[in-house]
Every structure is written in C-alpha cells, then in structure tokens.
Symmetry: C2
Subunit: 100 residues, 2 copies
C-alpha cells in the first residue's frame, strides 16, 4: 500500500474557513477520482507560536491508479489549492510505502 | 483518535539490521504496552542523496492510555532507541489528532 501525504500550514485567521473548504471541496474532489481507497485528515500538534498544521493521508493499493493520479490529476488539485488560498496556505507532498 | 508518529532517518549501511530490529524489537515492545490499537510502519520516498527515512504511526483511541504512555513509558522506549543506534538513527516525534 502507498500513501500520498499532503501537509498544510494555514494562516490562523483562515483556519475555520479552510477546514470547511477541505472537508466540503478539496477532500471530496480528491476522493472522487477513485484513485484512493480511503483518506485520513489529521491536525498535527505544534507549539503555540506556530501556524495550525494539518496533514491529509490518501491511501492507494493499486499502483496503476497511483501512477495515473500522479501523472494526470495531482498537479490540477494542487493548483486548485494554490489558486484558492495562495500564500495563506503552505503545503508539501510526500509519498510513503508500507513496510513488509 | 490520536496518532503518535516517530520518524526516523537511518544510516544506509545499517538499514537492513535496523529494519529487522524495528520489526522484531522496537515495534513489538511499543505494542506490548497495550496503549495502541494498531501501528503502521512506512518508508518515506526521499531523494537518492538522502538517508533512508521511515515513519511509524501508532494509533490510540483512549486518552487515558495515551497520557499514561506519554508520561510513563515513551521516554524509556526512546532511550532504548538512542542506546541501540546512537547517532546512526536520527528521530523525531509528533502527535496528530483526527479531524471531525
């Protein structure tokens, strides 16, 4: 199984709006591609002086679906994120592979 | 649900030995505390010039068990890691909370 992680740091003033957008727009849009079997959305504990930090984990157990998503759709979804939130939301992506 | 993440960067020369130790010693030792319902152990994709990088995710759905683990056992497990691998294995811990 592979996991596509997108980690986010959001401007504290926009956190509530951003969370609603994540739940109602971004995550459903990613899941509607049928590339991922499941997702988990977590808040990461940070120090009080840091911006709210979250990570979205998207699980995939089919390498062809994974590659197709990364080649054809991943950039569009990230552009949607950039277009909507600009510099108010920093993000980075990582790929993980289950051990065993 | 809360997740305790331990992320690792291991000396490439020791990766195989360390993986065996993780599977046969460290992860069973953490799970034997009964503080976590489940664990997932992932390799993180990195550039070729970076050391092998892994993350262990430990899931907990009981806040009392979580607090007891963090207060009474977490340091001992991390000391075991330091004692066994020293500077050959860098690590850091994060806490995550599921959103919703």
């Amino acid at each position: 199984m592979k996991v596509y992680n997108i980690s986010f740091q959001i401007d504290p003033d926009l956190e509530f709006q951003w969370l609603e957008w994540m739940k109602n727009n971004f995550i459903p849009s990613l899941m509607s591609t049928k590339s991922f079997t499941e997702n988990k959305f977590y808040q990461i504990k940070v120090n009080a002086d840091q911006s709210p930090t979250y990570t979205l984990q998207l699980y995939c157990d089919n390498i062809e679906l994974w590659q197709a998503y990364q080649e054809l759709q991943a950039n569009d979804h990230l552009k949607e994120l950039q277009y909507t939130w600009g510099e108010k939301c920093y993000y980075f992506c990582t790929e993980m592979q289950i051990v065993n």
